[in-house]
């Protein structure tokens, strides 16, 4: 277990170092999602009550787009110099490669979301501060689902010929349950009085556990040629 944690930590640190050095992925995703949020706002021009009803759906849809954009290069970058082979040659648990990348993707997505939340609150005239704690919990669970599933499918699609097209095609249908659960949980938080739905939270936790277990079980095969 300590070997697994060590290898995961080393890979996570490498991912963070590489990304924060170039900031290519973070900047691109952030700009893209900002445009989506602003365009949604201008297109619908919602009132406060409409924002509380439709805002969470638009927000999570934007996060989903961010995920499909950000997760694509996760394994594609390893193709450039066949560094995935170097990782697979190392005496480490193959799941630690996936786990390190999942953790990095989770942190990148969470960072983008945290930066976007104030913009969303201003554009949609929603007070997020009173519900910040439970909202962060929903964000963490939903983002974990997106990062876990996205990393798995990024590994699968990176070896396909139409890899750029394949990831969104595979990912978006599979992430529909996360989108629904996260949206419903956020809608509950924006009601008056705010309510944290345990049903949707349990659903999100179950989704995360199922896909993490699946990644652990088939991780070695996912990384093979």
């Amino acid at each position: 277990m300590s070997g697994f944690t060590h290898a995961t930590g080393v890979i996570l640190a490498k991912e963070l170092r590489a990304e924060f050095r170039s900031r290519e992925l973070l900047t691109t995703t952030l700009v893209f999602v900002l445009i989506v949020i602003v365009l949604f706002s201008f297109t619908f021009n919602p009132t406060t009550s409409e924002s509380r009803r439709f805002g969470p759906g638009l927000l999570w849809l934007a996060f989903l787009f961010a995920g499909s954009l950000m997760l694509q290069p996760s394994f594609l970058r390893e193709r450039a110099n066949d560094t995935l082979a170097a990782l697979r040659l190392a005496p480490i648990d193959p799941f630690s490669i996936l786990a390190g990348k999942m953790a990095a993707n989770f942190l990148f997505l969470l960072l983008v979301e945290v930066i976007l939340l104030p913009v969303f609150a201003v554009l949609y005239n929603i007070a997020l501060f009173p519900i910040l704690g439970p909202l962060l919990l929903v964000l963490v669970l939903g983002t974990l689902g997106i990062a876990t599933t996205g990393t798995i499918f990024s590994a699968v699609s990176s070896q396909a010929r139409l890899r750029e097209l394949l990831l969104p095609l595979l990912l978006l249908p599979v992430l529909a349950p996360v989108l629904i659960a996260s949206t419903e949980a956020t809608v509950g938080l924006l009601r008056d009085p705010a309510e944290l739905s345990l049903v949707w939270l349990t659903f999100l936790i179950s989704f995360d556990v199922v896909f993490l277990t699946a990644a652990w079980l088939v991780g070695e095969y996912l990384l093979e040629e």
């Binding site: 060590h6 080393v10 890979i11 490498k14 110099n81 066949d82 082979a85 040659l89 190392a90 005496p91």
Partner: protein
């Protein structure tokens, strides 16, 4: 840890160590001290009826082959003959469709997990990250191999490949030859008992080929088992003790253990040249 245990685990780098390696296992494969006889040993590999299928295409057909510790084997053959596939299977990057491979060291069979820490590979690509510096790359891999002092290991590995002065530079700024040297430094970082090289001379200028050839000679002298795929005659073949020709996934010629590899190497070179000439005439 007793010296003998460390020596068994790091056999490739033993002969140049001045101190008992309780701390560092970094490759110092350039040394003036020469090999310590009887201590260094490579891995033994035994392929038995190994097959590999990609869909309907057979990449390897019933390959049975035994490579003994310390051999330096050149795999020759034209493109698509199965050289890379055989190397990938040996590196455990690809599963065979049939047959089995056994790795052993000093008579004891190694588990698949134990084998991984004893294999170094130089591939078609450099297997290093462009967006990291040379030193960061090697520290990263040293940590993955759980080497005791990753920073010291990285510095020691950069020195013999002549990249110490560029340790802090991003790999993307390196020339092709320097990248290839980085790839070799990465492969030798954990002092492997088996070194696999897939056309290591590709893209290297004559000076780079000479350097690589010298490096392989020193590694071979240290007792490391070396298996490399190669095209034509070049400087990297100076250390070759055995040559095997593959055609359509089958072994057609094997100079054998202790045999003279030059016949197979020359034949491969002549055939490759003939093929190139006929291709250019057709084209």
């Amino acid at each position: 840890m007793p010296w003998s245990v460390v020596a068994r685990n790091n056999c490739c780098a033993i002969w140049f160590r001045a101190e008992p390696p309780r701390v560092s296992t970094a490759p110092a494969y350039f040394s003036n001290s020469g090999p310590s006889s009887g201590q260094g040993s490579g891995l033994k590999i035994q392929f038995t009826n190994v097959e590999k299928r990609y869909g309907m295409r057979m990449a390897l057909r019933n390959v049975s082959l035994e490579i003994t510790p310390g051999e330096c084997v050149a795999l020759v053959g034209h493109n698509g003959s199965g050289k890379t596939t055989l190397l990938k299977i040996a590196a455990q990057l690809s599963r065979p469709s049939g047959g089995k491979i056994i790795f052993s060291e000093r008579g004891a069979e190694l588990s698949p997990d134990a084998v991984k820490s004893r294999i170094g590979m130089v591939g078609h690509h450099t297997l290093v990250y462009d967006e990291l510096t040379a030193e960061e790359n090697l520290i990263f891999f040293a940590k993955l191999y759980s080497l005791p002092d990753p920073s010291a290991s990285a510095r020691k590995a950069l020195d013999p490949v002549g990249l110490s002065k560029r340790a802090g530079d991003l790999v993307r700024t390196f020339s092709r030859g320097m990248r290839q040297r980085m790839g070799i430094a990465r492969a030798l970082l954990a002092s492997p008992g088996l070194l696999l090289l897939d056309e290591p001379a590709a893209g290297l200028d004559p000076e780079g080929q000479q350097w690589l050839g010298d490096t392989l000679v020193k590694l071979h002298r240290s007792g490391c088992t070396i298996v490399m795929s190669t095209h034509g005659r070049n400087e990297t073949q100076a250390s070759v003790t055995r040559a095997i020709r593959l055609e359509s996934g089958k072994i057609t010629h094997d100079s054998g253990r202790g045999g003279d590899p030059s016949g197979v190497l020359v034949m491969a070179s002549v055939r490759d040249t003939d093929e190139e000439i006929s291709r250019s005439e057709r084209g």
